[in-house]
């Protein structure tokens, strides 16, 4: 690692730590930092502050970290696998599918709102599965153009379904907006108890794809020379990304931007395209950004909670544009 890459890594670690402390301390009730540390270490007497930190804020902070990391990794995997800087969970249909699945529950079965994460996850994975079947099967399957075009077509299909539902039940649309722009809620550990296997599977598979994706960086022929099958690398990387992005959507709705932009920020700041660096550091960057943005979204008009999506963009775009202009 170059000193520049180490500096980026350390800055992100510091940013994440600061965001976590702020996220646990700040909110409708502000709790002093020292007390937060005591509560986490179990040194503080049980009381309302400990309740707030342990029951409400800690699960939410962990959710924000996992979702941010999952989306950062999903974007890095897809951009590497498809060799395309515009790739993000949108291009394999996950965002469109998860949006449809959630809106289906919110609008048609509002009495079963507890099923929302399941709906988002199931339809996100269904959309990705459709893209994989069309994009990767057959003798000429696995080409980048085919996968991306299949993804865009399937995403449009689910977006049309979402739009149709919203048009048919306009009075119920407001309750879907929070999901569609992306937002976290303080609902304890329940959602994570359902979804941790998906996050685990996605992160573990992603770790195994790092080195194969580096080979793909040198071209399909070099990857093949090294004994990898380019089509398999693309499929497995996209699978890991689909699972991570679907699980993220199930927790936090359609949080856009992180999957597309965080890997670019990491590449530009670190000056490298190596997945050994880009994938784990994108996880760190995504986690730091989402925890920070969620804290802002909760506190800026407390006790009203804003959806986190727009705050991400406000925090992230200036940084991204600055790096983009600095890059040669």
């Amino acid at each position: 690692m170059t000193s520049r890459q180490i500096a980026v890594l350390i800055s992100l670690l510091v940013a994440l730590a600061a965001a976590i402390v702020a996220s646990l301390a700040l909110g409708a009730v502000n709790i002093p930092f020292a007390q937060v540390v005591d509560i986490l270490l179990g040194r503080d007497a049980p009381g309302p502050s400990a309740q707030i930190v342990e029951v409400l804020r800690l699960p939410r902070t962990v959710e924000a970290m996992l979702v941010g990391a999952a989306l950062g990794v999903a974007g890095a995997l897809l951009q590497g696998a498809l060799g395309n800087p515009l790739a993000s969970p949108d291009v394999i249909g996950v965002t469109g599918g998860a949006g449809f699945g959630a809106v289906l529950i919110i609008i048609l079965y509002p009495e079963s709102i507890a099923l929302l994460p399941v709906g988002a996850l199931a339809f996100g994975l269904l959309a990705a599965a459709m893209v994989f079947v069309i994009g990767f099967t057959g003798p000429t399957g696995g080409g980048i153009g085919r996968v991306i075009l299949a993804g865009i077509a399937i995403a449009s299909l689910f977006a049309a379904g979402t739009a149709a539902l919203m048009a048919a039940y306009p009075d119920r649309v407001p309750s879907a907006i929070f999901f569609l722009v992306g937002g976290l809620t303080s609902t304890g550990w329940e959602t994570l108890k359902q979804l941790w296997p998906y996050f685990t599977f996605g992160f573990v598979l992603a770790a195994f794809m790092i080195r194969p994706l580096d080979r793909l960086l040198l071209g399909d022929d070099v990857a093949a020379s090294l004994g990898s099958k380019p089509r398999t690398i693309r499929l497995l990387s996209a699978l890991a990304a689909a699972v991570l992005a679907s699980a993220a959507a199930a927790v936090a709705g359609l949080v856009a931007f992180i999957g597309l932009v965080i890997p670019h920020v990491v590449r530009l700041a670190g000056g490298t395209n190596n997945h050994t660096y880009v994938v784990p550091v994108s996880a760190l960057g995504g986690a730091a950004l989402l925890v920070a943005a969620d804290t802002l979204a909760r506190t800026i008009r407390a006790p009203i909670e804003m959806p986190v999506g727009p705050f991400l963009v406000v925090l992230g775009v200036p940084l991204f544009l600055w790096l983009l202009r600095k890059a040669v």
């Binding site: 080979r215 040198l218 071209g219 090294l226 590449r267």
Partner: protein
């Protein structure tokens, strides 16, 4: 690989590569048929032939990059179809014709990627791997370029990096598809000298090459391909007769070798009613 079911052991007496009757069919069209080839250690074998004769397809089929529809390929006596990816990667390195030049990747990064065939998933590099990486850079004359980004290299430098990536695989055979096709005279000579040096160190090199004069100068042996099959093999001067050049390329020409220099004397415009003078 101690963990795997022991597969057929390599046979030290077998040729590095032995291909017999190889055929390739793509989408119902026969691209290659009955192609043969043998490569031994310390030999530079060049495949020559006109555009579309099937040179690249043959090399890719031998290397397992293209599915063959007929024939057998053996690497050190082991059948290609029974070799797993990582085993094959240690038997041969394939250097593609057009290098992909990614942004944000240094020379050292690229050669490390070449070494990754020796690692299990998630395993780090050992001291031996690091030695192999630095010696690959030295053998390809790219030491000192470690921290340069690939995107800042010249065509000749990039080609030498590609060879270094292949050498890092630690395979006894290097297959290079037209490594000098886009290089100028000086860079072509540098790459040729490097390949000859690697051959003298014992490596088997299979080279696909367009330029007949260059092939005659660098190769120990030539294989001529025409219309999807191998039609002749032997020492350059024996194979590249004026008659064969005329039959295969449809051009009147003569290969001339003199004091280590080789050239092709070509009747460029003869026989064309519009061009003849």
């Amino acid at each position: 690989m101690a963990l795997r079911r022991p597969s057929q052991p390599p046979d030290p007496d077998a040729p590095l590569v032995e291909a017999r009757g190889v055929g390739v069919t793509i989408g119902g069209t026969g691209i290659l048929h009955d192609a043969d080839l043998t490569l031994v250690p310390g030999e530079l074998l060049a495949i020559i032939g006109p555009n579309g004769a099937g040179k690249s397809t043959f090399a890719r089929a031998i290397c397992g990059l293209q599915k063959a529809s007929a024939g057998t390929v053996k690497w050190s006596g082991r059948d290609l179809s029974g070799l797993k990816g990582r085993e094959l990667a240690r038997l041969r390195a394939f250097v593609p014709q057009r290098a992909q030049v990614p942004n944000g990747v240094t020379v050292a990064d690229a050669v490390r990627i070449g070494r990754s065939a020796h690692l299990k998933p998630l395993q780090g590099f050992s001291a031996d791997d690091r030695d192999a990486i630095s010696s690959s850079l030295k053998r390809a004359r790219m030491d000192g370029f470690e921290d340069r980004l690939l995107s800042t290299l010249s065509g000749g430098e990039m080609q030498r990096v590609q060879v270094a990536v292949g050498l890092a695989q630690g395979a006894p055979v290097l297959v290079a598809d037209e490594p000098t096709a886009q290089l100028d005279l000086g860079a072509t000579a540098a790459v040729s000298k490097m390949l000859r040096r690697l051959v003298s160190e014992g490596l088997g090199v299979l080279l696909i090459v367009h330029d007949l004069a260059l092939a005659a100068a660098v190769a120990d042996r030539l294989i001529v391909m025409s219309e999807g099959t191998t039609i002749a093999t032997g020492a350059p001067l024996e194979v590249l007769t004026s008659q064969l050049i005329s039959e295969v390329w449809g051009v009147e020409a003569e290969l001339v070798r003199h004091q280590g220099r080789s050239g092709l004397h070509v009747e460029w415009l003869e026989g064309d009613p519009a061009g003849g003078r």
